[in-house]
Symmetry: C2
């Protein structure tokens, strides 16, 4: 590294070394970076530079860098590398990460990379990548030790020694015992092996009928499996009972965390996949607009209620001040109810058909909060124009609409779940549109009813 | 179970058996329920019934039920039980769950329960409960096997055998080797023990200088630790290097998932703790109002911009239709930018001081999306009233305000993070207030500038 590279931002120095193809310089610079800092520095490179960086690093270092990249960056980088370089890096990753990455690639590039791997590895990886990402098959590792039921304890210990080198980076916790058809028949805990005589058959030491999960089990089912059982991991079986991998509890927990994060992003209108600011502007714009354009149509629809009651508004222009307040406050109240329903669905304290207890829980609260919020706005309106009737209209409309909003907000996630739709994505726009229309209608029709007292 | 109890909802039958103190009936009914169903049935009981249910079950069954309850239910139930019953149930739980629950109790009740436990257990638990919930100390388990460095392999195997019974429910993966002052000096993997001669000292077999985490390490630090290292768990040391527990990767992943869920709830206005619809109405109402009352003040503040420009609005009443649209659409655009910033902070691709790249990324997008959305609304306004100037005002205001919203939305999470505030909680209200005020101002002042063309 020259003096020069240290005086600028580290990603500028790195980009320069990468462009110059300075393998030693790149390695030296990467080694000076804290792990957290290196994530940020690599993210600042452009797609080309990231691909070149990975090609310049030793495969195991490149694999380390790729594991900490956002998935979209990793996929882009692998796609723009020579397939043989990409294959060498991929081989350094655990099998679940290999399958995830491969699933993110365009199929042409994925095939080109697979063609550079050992045929057996490629076939296994192809199978893994075919599983849905959030199924047991998609989350499992294939790095495991399996032995025939007729092996002796001594043979098993040999097998562990051999795999210990092969899978140096993994914690091996169990040995899986299979029959001639590779069906799982038992599990050996290392601590039981420790205490067993060396010459007995493992059939006699193993735990029979071990708990296992099916390869097509989804995330919810897996979450409940690990809630029921205090295991670090579980064997994954296909429909014939054949052992295909091992699922770690931490893999399930990580997938759940990722799912929560994604739910959050979807409620905030980041749909159609991850967005990073390093992605092309037009792609980011198009994805955000996909969501916004639905919302703008719904907004125009809701505002048409105002347009239809323009006469009332013209007579009492002060009402215009309260329309956005009622729209926004009802949205807030409704969103709270949505969040509680989503949470209760996650915790399992309600299921999608439990509309009755949800509505009962929200009606009382809606009346209470409606009275408080409506009262507040009513007093503000009265004080502002000195007209108690204006207070009655604004406050009454907000009170009623709060009740509507919490009931709809509480119910929507359940209804969407029953319809098989994603509650996180659709609940917000539906809620806002309904509560806006209802709120505008309430303000303007209450005002029309007592028009001579307002003007 | 009588015929009668089967004809009604299972929680009604359970409530009746609990009230009657029918221990056998309760046990029989609980056994007929699927695990998921039992979560929901127990959630439907009231606080008293839940406490009685737990007291009627055998401690290990009660512990199983309590582990699947929402935390607030578990804490309420333990508080209303006899302390000696509560202590017996608590003792059946893993140490991290014990500490979590104890931390959720009122201190008087917690002390009463601790008084019923073995003094040594109580002292350890008190120490555990003192750690912040999301620190290594708060997440760790104390169920571990530790041996002095001078032990032989044979002695260690004895120790494992003994703990295997004591900690039957836990997977023991490592043995921790400590010096005379209980400082960690090495780690033994079970597979290394398997291959070692039985009479050597463990000092010779163990891995020296094992990776460990400090007991006060926070969740972010722990997440990065497990990203760096492919371990299932890590020893936790205090400031003197004394071994105090073992932290499992899955415990960290679970805490991260919980944190994401909570972030989501806070953005939706569920603050001040978990809400379940089974909680008292007044408590739920008060907590939701705490958030809503801040929002209503901010809303009134924003709407005052309309009130101050009432003359313009009176002259061009059609503008009233566009005010809520611009308010809502700017909120949507801004929220997208908030979500992307929160995500990039989590991924580590930006840090809190990276305002420049965030703003650069949002300005281009804000101009693009502003032109599209503004164009849409402009055309709608023009077509509605046949006045292109109305289109120019509504569209121009939305276009400009979209740019404002994405820049503010992108920047707020970074600024709040730097100020040490929770971005999830405060970003929404700040964003909405600023974009509302700015949007209303833009519509009404653009309109005022070209008033004679609008009327």
């Amino acid at each position: 590294m020259t003096q020069d590279t240290q005086s600028r931002a580290p990603w500028e120095a790195l980009a320069e070394l990468v462009t110059a193809g300075d393998r030693a310089g790149v390695k030296a610079l990467m080694e000076t970076l804290e792990p957290l800092e290196s994530v940020r520095v690599v993210a600042r490179l452009d797609d080309d530079e990231r691909a070149k960086l990975l090609a310049l690093l030793a495969p195991e270092d490149a694999a380390d860098v790729i594991e900490h990249m956002p998935d979209v960056h990793a996929a882009d980088a692998l796609e723009s590398m020579a397939p043989e370089d990409a294959a060498r890096i991929l081989e350094e990753l655990p099998s679940d990460a290999q399958a995830d990455l491969l699933g993110d690639l365009e199929s042409v590039e994925a095939e080109a990379i697979l063609a550079q791997m050992e045929p057996a590895d490629a076939a296994e990886l192809r199978e893994l990548a075919a599983y849905p990402e959030d199924s047991a098959g998609g989350l499992m590792l294939t790095e495991l030790v399996q032995v025939p039921a007729r092996s002796t304890v001594d043979e098993v210990i040999d097998s562990i020694r051999q795999h210990a080198e092969e899978y140096a980076g993994y914690d091996i916790q169990y040995v899986y015992v299979v029959d001639e058809a590779e069906r799982l028949v038992g599990v050996l805990r290392l601590r039981d092996l420790l205490m067993a005589p060396r010459n007995v058959r493992v059939e006699r030491v193993m735990l029979r009928d071990p708990h296992s999960v099916r390869d097509d089990a989804g995330l919810d089912e897996l979450m409940h499996f690990f809630e029921e059982h205090h295991f670090f991991g579980a064997p994954v079986l296909d429909e014939d009972g054949v052992l295909c991998g091992v699922l770690r509890r931490s893999g399930v927990e990580a997938a759940l965390a990722e799912q929560s994060d994604e739910t959050f992003r979807r409620t905030q209108g980041i749909v159609g996949g991850e967005e990073l600011r390093s992605m092309p502007l037009l792609l980011r714009s198009r994805r955000r607009l996909a969501w916004l354009s639905v919302n703008i149509v719904l907004n125009v629809l809701a505002a048409s209620v105002i347009a239809l009651n323009q006469d009332t508004l013209e007579a009492v222009i002060a009402l215009a001040v309260f329309l956005p307040i009622i729209s926004d406050m009802s949205g807030c109240s409704g969103n709270q109810a949505v969040a509680v329903s989503l949470r209760e669905l996650t915790l399992g304290t309600i299921k999608a058909s439990d509309l009755r207890p949800v509505l009962l829980g929200e009606i009382g609260l809606g009346i209470l909060n409606g009275l408080v919020l409506g009262g507040l706005i009513g007093v503000v309106a009265w004080a502002w124009k000195g007209n108690p009737w204006l207070g009655l209209v604004a406050g009454g409309a907000l009170a009623l609409n709060t009740l509507v909003a919490v009931c709809i907000g509480g119910a929507i996630p359940l209804v969407l779940r029953r319809l098989g739709k994603d509650p996180a994505l659709a609940a917000g726009p539906i809620l806002t549109t309904v509560t806006d229309m209802c709120g505008f209608f309430l303000v303007l029709s209450l005002a029309a009813m007592m028009l001579e007292r307002l003007v």
